[in-house]
């Protein structure tokens, strides 16, 4: 009897203003507060509200069967707390059913693991504390920003006390291994890895409203057929998608919520399947498959590597610059400066600077608040120039 593991990613960055060169030294406010609130409201109304309501309804109907898992970034949590506390309430309400698990991630949805281990550790712990504060759960399974992963990350995550880690199931990493089983990351002892089924996940997340797709329109029946084609020795089918899929990336008129409700109902009515959260999978399923992934992978773009954020010379330069401040910002121990610096680490800022073309480029543009990747870079670098000036002033005043 295969298990089904559903995990939804909830994230909102702090988008930045169009910060011109001439503001450097004069304006220390970097965030586009109006836009951020606008987007938060829009996505809350289109997605979070309705999707949470639906999940609540399904849990109520199948309290012994239906389970879901969320990973909510720290930047999203704080924005909810400030502008849409009702969304926090509705997540807390879901949490009270006992059928919901929350994952750990970096508080700032950052690339800190790739640039600074100390900072990475801080952000992971800060996020776990926030989850404990809001949901009285201590996360035991970790997912890195955009499922970025390699062997070293698994080793680090085990050291931090986690028991599981989530990443993308990619053929060139899996080789012939069974992605529907769990994995033991190379050179770790206790931690287990859970791999995303990108075919099934992307059927819902990306292709659902694609009228040129041969499966269009996707129905619960077609989806169950695809699931049933998975070979016999499947322990778990892992469907990991952005929560914004429901009502935002695919609007309500697309029928995505109705599709999902019907799909879950049919699975719950089916004796063949049961739902499990990542921590339950790790507790209940043994494995001896080794996951060896020396190079970085992720769930983003066609390449499924780091190139969505660390792919061109603008991205390299911007990332090198923001992390070059680490020692100084840590040393001055100024809460406001630390927070500003950390929010500037959110991966979205670098994602907007991508100059990829074709379909991936379109996805990058869809998310970007700016007219071009060059603008995204210019505003970001101007902000870093102002940040650097401010930092120097503070250091000087403390001497």
């Amino acid at each position: 009897m295969p298990n089904i593991c559903l995990y939804f990613q909830v994230h909102q960055p702090y988008r930045l203003v169009e910060y011109s060169f001439f503001q450097i030294g004069n304006n220390h406010f970097y965030e586009n507060a109006i836009l951020n609130k606008l987007v938060l409201d829009k996505v809350s109304n289109n997605c979070y509200e309705k999707a949470n309501e639906l999940i609540g309804k399904l849990i109520e109907k199948y309290p012994h069967k239906f389970k879901v898992t969320y990973s909510i970034s720290g930047t999203a949590l704080v924005q909810f707390e400030n502008h849409r506390p009702d969304i926090i309430d509705s997540f807390q309400k879901l949490n009270k059913t006992g059928n919901v698990e929350f994952l750990a991630e970096t508080f700032y949805h950052s690339l800190a693991f790739n640039y600074n281990k100390e900072e990475f550790e801080f952000q992971v712990q800060k996020h776990s504390k926030a989850i404990e504060k809001f949901f009285k759960q201590k996360p035991t399974v970790f997912r890195n920003t955009e499922l970025i992963y390699n062997n070293d990350l698994a080793i680090e995550i085990e050291k931090l006390g986690f028991r599981g880690i989530i990443t993308e199931g990619l053929p060139h990493i899996l080789k012939r291994k069974n992605q529907y089983q769990l994995f033991l990351p190379k050179d770790t002892k206790k931690i287990k890895a859970i791999l995303r089924d990108h075919n099934l996940s992307d059927d819902i997340a990306y292709r659902f409203s694609d009228k040129n797709w041969k499966q269009y329109p996707l129905t619960p029946k077609k989806f169950l057929q695809s699931m049933s084609k998975i070979k016999d020795n499947a322990e778990t089918i892992n469907i990991f998608i952005d929560y914004e899929t429901f009502g935002e990336h695919h609007d309500e008129e697309s029928g995505i919520l109705k599709f999902f409700e019907k799909l879950i109902t049919e699975i719950c009515e089916n004796e063949l399947y049961s739902f499990k959260t990542p921590s339950e999978l790790i507790q209940n399923i043994e494995t001896n498959q080794i996951l060896d992934c020396p190079e970085y992978i992720s769930w983003a773009d066609t390449e499924k590597d780091l190139s969505a954020w660390i792919g061109n010379s603008m991205q390299y330069e911007a990332l090198a610059k923001i992390y070059s401040f680490k020692d100084k910002v840590w040393a001055i121990d100024d809460e406001e400066m630390l927070e500003t610096w950390r929010k500037l680490q959110t991966s979205d800022h670098f994602y907007y600077m991508s100059t990829k073309q074709s379909t991936d480029g379109e996805v990058h543009n869809y998310f970007s608040p700016f007219n071009s990747p060059y603008d995204a870079y210019i505003y970001y670098m101007n902000i870093l120039s102002d940040f650097e000036l401010t930092l120097k002033k503070i250091i000087k005043s403390k001497k």
Binding site: S20, F21, N312, S313, Q315, Y374, Y377, I378, N382
Partner: protein
């Protein structure tokens, strides 16, 4: 191919006589198009040292009129004589006041071509096709080109810009063949959206009469819809191509970074915005020099303004330059700026990119459609324009990325592709049997 379409093309500028993008585009397109169609090209002036293979090139300066049998039509150009001629600088390419038709033909005249058969071909023996006698040249071109056309067999008339449009209409009227207008520049680009003088009238009449209009960008296609009330169903934008060049970089021998403007120093090209942008940049980073290459009616005023603002040693004016000198400038420039108020295409932005120069352009430019790897600002947004220039000078990551991405954009642009697009319009939209 069984039947190659026969195309009669009417051009104006042509190498080696080049003022702007028109001559380059006519030549680039003809060269590739001649591989797909039978092409005859009538020009006011041709040079026997510059003849394209497989293109029958007829220069009116070399034309022997006495050996032609004369016929004419009754097509009426009253619209040209009814308008009030405004005695002012309406023409884009020169500064002297012009007299158009009225000296030779009273404004009340109905001047159809049949009454005026003796053309003075001398007007084409000049190095400036746009100087004082432009009206006469346009008219004489129409007379002679239509005479020649009537003795030829062709399926399509393809005319480049307003100077050839009287001829184009006359030839269509007499032959009944399909007419394609290729728009490289509009009167409202050159003189603003309020320009409703005789050139505008000529453009509008020709567009109404034509079977298809090919603007060099979607941007210009929109202008044609909005300012000339032409239905979108007749407009087929085709982007210009570019010839490959052997590009190079040189040392400038100057310690400062170089920001380059290149084009006619006329209102259309926004030189005064370049000037203001330069002042703004220099306030913040002094180690930059600005070079304005080209000439035009605004040059003198700008030089005086430079002196007034004490920017004389930071802003340089070169006057009109040869291609060799232009290439040298590209090779030493650190930023290329094209702040045009309205730019149908903007070939020079592609040329700068070929030389590895990052490009800053106004949003009112068609070239952005084929080269997205540029920084953009509204032409009047001096602050954003300045910020873009400073960012390129300041951030190496940006500079490198723009240059790299622009090379990629360039790799997808060619005259072969443009010619194929034009060919498709001929065959699918004009010659397809009903």
């Amino acid at each position: 191919m069984q039947n190659k379409p026969k195309v009669l093309m009417l051009g104006w500028e042509f190498p080696p006589l080049i003022n702007g993008g028109l001559g380059v585009a006519t030549s680039g397109l003809s060269k590739e198009l001649s591989k797909l169609v039978d092409l005859s090209l009538i020009l006011p002036k041709s040079d026997i040292n510059y003849v394209l293979k497989n293109v029958e090139t007829i220069g009116l300066n070399n034309f022997d009129i006495e050996n032609f049998k004369l016929r004419s039509s009754d097509h009426d150009y009253t619209f040209l004589s009814n308008i009030d001629f405004v005695q002012a600088n309406l023409l884009p390419y020169q500064e002297k006041e012009i007299d158009l038709f009225q000296k030779k033909y009273a404004a009340t005249d109905q001047f159809s071509l049949k009454d005026k058969l003796r053309a003075d071909i001398d007007v084409f023996n000049t190095n400036d096709l746009y100087d004082g006698a432009i009206g006469e040249r346009v008219y004489n071109f129409a007379k002679l080109a239509s005479l020649i056309a009537l003795q030829k067999d062709f399926d399509i008339i393809h005319a480049h810009d307003w100077m050839t449009f009287v001829a184009a209409m006359e030839i269509k009227a007499q032959s009944g063949k399909k007419l394609v207008l290729h728009i490289h520049s509009l009167e409202i680009d050159r003189n603003g959206p309020d320009s409703k003088g005789w050139i505008y009238q000529l453009e509008k009449s020709a567009m109404d009469y034509a079977d298809a209009i090919i603007p060099v960008s979607h941007y210009t296609g929109e202008m044609i819809r909005n300012f000339y009330s032409i239905p979108a169903s007749k407009i087929y934008p085709v982007h210009n191509g570019i010839d490959q060049v052997q590009s190079f970089r040189s040392d400038s021998s100057l310690p400062e970074k170089i920001v380059l403007f290149l084009g006619r120093i006329t209102g259309q090209k926004g030189p005064e915005y370049f000037f203001e942008t330069a002042s703004k940049v220099l306030e913040f980073i002094p180690n930059v020099r600005f070079v304005m290459a080209g000439s035009g009616n605004m040059l003198k005023g700008l030089i005086e303004m430079g002196a007034f603002k004490h920017l004389g040693n930071k802003i340089h004016f070169t006057g009109f330059l040869t291609q060799e000198k232009v290439r040298h400038l590209y090779s030493i420039a650190d930023v290329y700026v094209m702040p045009s108020v309205s730019e149908p295409f903007g070939l020079s932005a592609l040329e700068a990119a070929q030389f590895g120069v990052p490009v800053v352009i106004s949003k009112q430019s068609g070239v952005a459609e084929v080269m997205p790897s540029t920084l953009k600002a509204d032409y009047w947004d001096v602050e954003k324009m300045a910020s873009n220039i400073i960012s390129i000078l300041k951030y190496k990551g940006l500079r490198d990325q723009l240059v790299k991405d622009a090379y990629h954009d360039l790799s997808k642009i060619s005259w072969t592709k443009s010619a194929a697009d034009v060919y498709n319009i001929y065959t699918h939209n004009l010659l397809a049997t009903n």
